[in-house]
Symmetry: C2
Subunit: 148 residues, 2 copies
DNA sequence: ATATACTTGATAAAAATTGTCGGGTATTGC
DNA sequence: GCAATACCCGACAATTTTTATCAAGTATAT
């Protein structure tokens, strides 16, 4: 799970798509103008989103993109994983040549944390982002986690 | 809050430092060999960690780095924020020229999510990572979150 | 004291990633 | 047919990540 501007742009674009998807497909040109993301970049991002079955495309006039699943079945993790190829911060890439226990240990610790972050972002759906109070700049997910 | 290999390397290095800090300062050369991170890169990372008061340095033979705070007072968020300069994914960088409500809205939503991720990583301390069962490759933080 | 090895600290360079621009082709509604 | 739109590609600049190189400080032995 990597978290960079690339993933942020993808999340922002998906939110825009979710918000404007009521009247047929949404054009990338529209998203580009509203969100100030370059059209070329959006094309790259939506190519990946489409190949990951998060959106579907309609060509020709009146065409554009549609969400392929209901908003409550699309998580932030889905979006980020679709556009941000996961990278491997460990040196022993799954190989069995890790003789030094210490090394494997810390790597294991890290990958565990990594899993936790992904699990957390899996809980946040597009629907939650879209249906939150819009005008307030407060936290979207304040009530998501039980112990707070 | 950005999450890249840079931050991962920093977390891994800090875990290594916490594990080997019992017998005086830990050298970057040692961390480099154990974790397979280039010495030069570690030098840069620890420069930032030092400037953020997460570690202190001792020069000369027998020197190295020490944790500056107890392990339970160092969070993963602390480490990542120290080395990974936060970037601004919004286009209207705090300016008031955001006439399009739609744009500001999604930006607000994103920054909220961003805050949530940071809050989450703030709960994970170095101590939790280090004292977790070492040999198992299972999740480190399985019991951290109440509703699971 | 002085040399020497060890180590941090700083800067430059190389590699990888991110983002933009421009050109094209394919598809489809009108 | 025409125009709107997705889709694909290559080139490029900007940024970030990673490595390489050099300089400076300091404990220790001699």
């Amino acid at each position: 799970m990597r978290l960079t501007t690339k993933g942020r742009f993808a999340v922002t674009a998906m939110i825009d798509l979710a918000l404007h998807g009521d009247n047929g497909p949404v054009t990338l040109a529209g998203i580009s103008e509203r969100q100030k993301i370059s059209l070329s970049y959006l094309e790259q991002l939506f190519g990946k989103l489409r190949r990951n079955n998060l959106v579907s495309s309609v060509r020709g006039p009146g065409g554009g993109y549609r969400l392929m699943r209901p908003m409550n079945e699309v998580s932030v993790a889905d979006i980020i994983l679709a556009v941000d190829e996961p990278i491997d911060a460990t040196q022993c890439k799954g190989k069995e040549n890790c003789h030094n226990d210490q090394r494997c240990m810390t790597h294991g610790l890290w990958t565990s944390l990594n899993t936790k972050i992904r699990d957390y972002l899996t809980l946040v759906t597009l629907e939650q982002l879209v249906t939150s109070p819009k005008v307030k700049n407060v936290s979207v997910l304040q009530d998501l986690r039980a112990h707070k």
